[in-house]
């Protein structure tokens, strides 16, 4: 192990919060410009290559055709360009200082991982549940089988910049409206799955939701459980800036970003995936990504890690129950996950995948906390207010747009000015 090139320890070894964007362009020249701009930005950052959705869903011929035709795709078509082009593209980056992560979103990643390793990239992300249920039609059992051999491929890699780093996406299920206890449990279960198949360098994820206090409790619970379960493995935590319906106003978008940076700093998280001011409208440009990185880094610098308070009890307890219940299903964690979803012991709210029971429902309570309106067959309690279970289209839209309304109301020129109140701690930080 060269150690220096190791993504996880590079991230964890820096004193400051490492900020990362999700950049991906179909044109290699543009991709290179993007990576250079991120490297040269005055922030602690790592590089990202995000794949396009044709490559992600295995429509490789289509990706190649569109590349030949010159159509701009929504990401970098790794296999259409091939390992040689990609290797050349990233050759100028010293990965011991500026490691690069491949972000793919695929339930069937084996071929992608092979190409990635051939191209000299040794950090990636995903998971058998987190990249199957929300994003694909693959049966969960097929995704689990593919991820088993994919993890073994990553674990067996012995080249420069090994061991390979793998981040679980389990803390981001559907981006929003998934309560923290389930996010934490899925994180731990996927991480255990990775470990069972030989991966030794892991990060755990947590997507910012609707209430800063609840998010803090969620991340603290995640750290407690990771400490209990992931001994002997190097791990760190990555926070995601809110992944749902994003504020449209510039000020709103930046303050939501700053809030997530403060959340990451406060909880001692090592890495932050940022969002840009363009998020509500389209795929952001390089400049917008760099600006987001600078804003996030600035907001994080002003925040000291807080004392972990003991009040993460409820989330911790529910997450622990979920993890233990699933692990009882089978000694192989992959099989246990499949069995748990089949029996509804894990049930992601609003997830349409045929292998998800889709009986659970989450709502946002008056304090902005995510609560279970119904937990289906999961072994945890519902919040059960005097609230009828039926959620209308308008209810759903307002819950999805909760953060947009709240943060857009910060912008004096925005029509939603009167909606929602924001505490002074959520005031935007001036941007460099």
């Amino acid at each position: 192990m060269s150690g220096l090139g190791h993504f996880g320890s590079r991230v964890a070894g820096r004193g400051e919060l490492v900020v990362q964007s999700r950049m991906g362009f179909s044109d290699p020249a543009q991709m290179l410009d993007g990576l250079r701009a991120v490297r040269d930005a005055p922030v602690e950052s790592v590089g990202t290559i995000t794949l396009d959705s044709f490559t992600r869903t295995g429509q490789l011929r289509r990706a190649r055709d569109e590349v030949l035709r010159g159509t701009p795709l929504n990401g970098y078509p790794l296999i259409a360009h091939g390992a040689a082009v990609t290797r050349e593209l990233i050759a100028e980056f010293d990965q011991s200082v500026f490691p690069i992560q491949l972000r793919h979103g695929s339930a069937r990643p084996y071929a992608l991982f092979k190409e990635m390793l051939a191209a000299g990239i040794t950090a990636t992300e995903g998971g058998p549940v987190s990249y199957c249920l929300p994003y694909s039609r693959e049966p969960l059992s097929a995704a689990v089988a593919e991820w088993e051999r994919s993890c073994e491929l990553l674990a067996a890699f012995d080249g420069p910049a090994s061991p390979v780093h793998l981040e679980t996406f389990g803390g981001c299920m559907l981006g929003q409206l998934c309560p923290p206890d389930l996010l934490v449990a899925l994180n731990i279960l996927e991480a255990l799955f990775f470990v069972q198949h030989g991966v030794r360098s892991i990060s755990l994820s947590y997507a910012q939701q609707t209430n800063p206090l609840q998010d803090r409790e969620g991340i603290e619970a995640l750290r407690v459980l990771a400490g209990e379960w992931l001994g002997g493995v190097s791990w760190h935590v990555v926070v995601y800036t809110f992944m749902g319906v994003y504020p449209e106003s510039r000020e709103g978008a930046l303050s939501l970003l700053a809030a997530s940076a403060r959340l990451a700093a406060l909880t001692g998280s090592e890495r932050l995936m940022v969002k840009t001011v363009a998020e509500a409208f389209r795929i952001p440009t390089v400049a917008e990504n760099v600006q987001a990185l600078r804003c996030a880094a600035a907001a994080a610098r002003g925040t000291e890690p807080g004392e972990a308070h003991d009040d993460c009890g409820e989330i911790l307890h529910a997450a622990r129950t979920l993890v233990n219940t699933v692990l009882e299903q089978h000694s192989s964690i992959g099989a246990a996950l499949v069995a748990a979803f089949r029996r509804g012991l894990l049930d992601v709210p609003y997830c349409l995948h045929p292998d998800n029971a889709n009986q659970s429902r989450a709502i946002i309570d008056s304090a902005g906390r995510l609560q279970w309106a119904s937990t289906g067959a999961m072994p945890i309690a519902a919040y059960a207010p005097a609230h009828e279970a039926r959620i209308s289209a308008a209810d759903l839209l307002s819950m999805l747009g909760y953060n947009r309304a709240r943060f857009d109301s910060l912008d004096p020129g925005h029509p939603d000015r009167t909606v929602g109140a924001t505490t002074s701690s959520e005031r935007p930080t001036p941007c460099p």
Binding site: N74, P139, Q176, L352, P354, A393, L400
Partner: protein, 291 residues
């Protein structure tokens, strides 16, 4: 059947007393195949039952009844014709042998064509998921349900396109359609065009809503609408599309016109899409209910 053994087309069920060649003639098949032989140099290989259906449909020479061996030239011709036909024959098991339902159907023979049509549209490769297998095997039940369903509740299908994994838009649209009186089948994320057509053939909806927000809509939508519009069974289906259809953010008027020209009944891509679509729903909902 294509030369590589993939079925291209199936007809509606025909009455059992009609001979194969008569069915082929009535459906206009023989004319089409002879024309493709003459103009595209693309002859058809068929079994001997289709003898004398035209110059473009090549059938083997029949064995004489009196036990005399065929002349070597005729035997050679038969071998040449029958040799490549195995590929085509492979298509039949794809349609019938793969699924339980076509072998044991108990529904009205008139509707058997729908089941075969559904089988045609599920891809015959190893990429079949168990959901698809379950789906085709439950086609029979589905058809019966369709027949029994009360006619006054319009049906809607909500779907994404193959490369798009977003689902909140689909969850919202399902609730919205349900509130407008539709019974909804939600096909979910990353729906390949074959699954969409099969889903529509099964459901026979009045409204199909395609929603995609990943920016590839303009690339993918044309093949979806073409495949839906080429199915005679789905004639009259109202099809709309909405979301973020390209990576740039604004969809040009020309692109909207092109989608409408290809057969979409509505294209919703602006910031006011939700309001516009609700108005559209109120309108089409009434039309579907016959008001």
């Amino acid at each position: 059947m294509r030369p590589d053994g993939l079925p291209i087309w199936t007809s509606a069920a025909m009455p059992g007393h009609l001979h194969d060649t008569r069915c082929a003639r009535e459906l206009g098949l023989t004319a089409a195949l002879n024309r493709s032989a003459a103009e595209l140099d693309l002859p058809t290989l068929a079994e001997s039952g289709y003898e004398s259906t035209g110059h473009g449909i090549k059938t083997p020479v029949k064995q004489p009844a009196d036990g005399i061996c065929l002349a070597p030239d005729n035997r050679a011709r038969n071998r040449l014709l029958c040799g490549p036909r195995w590929r085509g024959e492979r298509g039949l098991p794809i349609l019938i042998g793969r699924w339980k339902t076509p072998g044991h159907t108990t529904i009205s023979p008139r509707r058997a064509g729908d089941i075969v049509a559904g089988a045609l549209h599920l891809p015959p490769s190893d990429t079949n998921t168990h959901h698809q297998v379950a789906e085709i095997n439950s086609l029979e039940r589905g058809s019966v349900k369709t027949l029994k369903r009360s006619p006054d509740r319009p049906r809607g299908v909500v779907s994404s396109v193959a490369s798009d994994a977003h689902t909140w838009n689909l969850v919202y649209l399902q609730l919205l359609l349900e509130e407008h009186g539709y019974s909804v089948r939600n096909l979910g994320a990353c729906v390949p065009v074959e699954d969409l057509v099969a889903g529509c053939l099964m459901e026979r909806p009045q409204l199909l809503v395609l929603s995609t927000v990943n920016g590839h809509g303009l690339i993918e939508a044309p093949s979806y609408i073409r495949r839906v519009r080429e199915r005679a069974e789905l004639h009259g289906l109202v099809v709309v599309i909405g979301g973020k259809l390209n990576v740039g953010g604004t969809v040009a008027d020309d692109d909207v016109r092109r989608l409408l020209h290809l057969g979409f009944d509505g294209v919703f891509t602006t910031v006011d899409s939700v309001q516009e679509f609700r108005r559209f729903l109120t309108h089409t909902g009434k039309a579907a209910a016959g008001e």
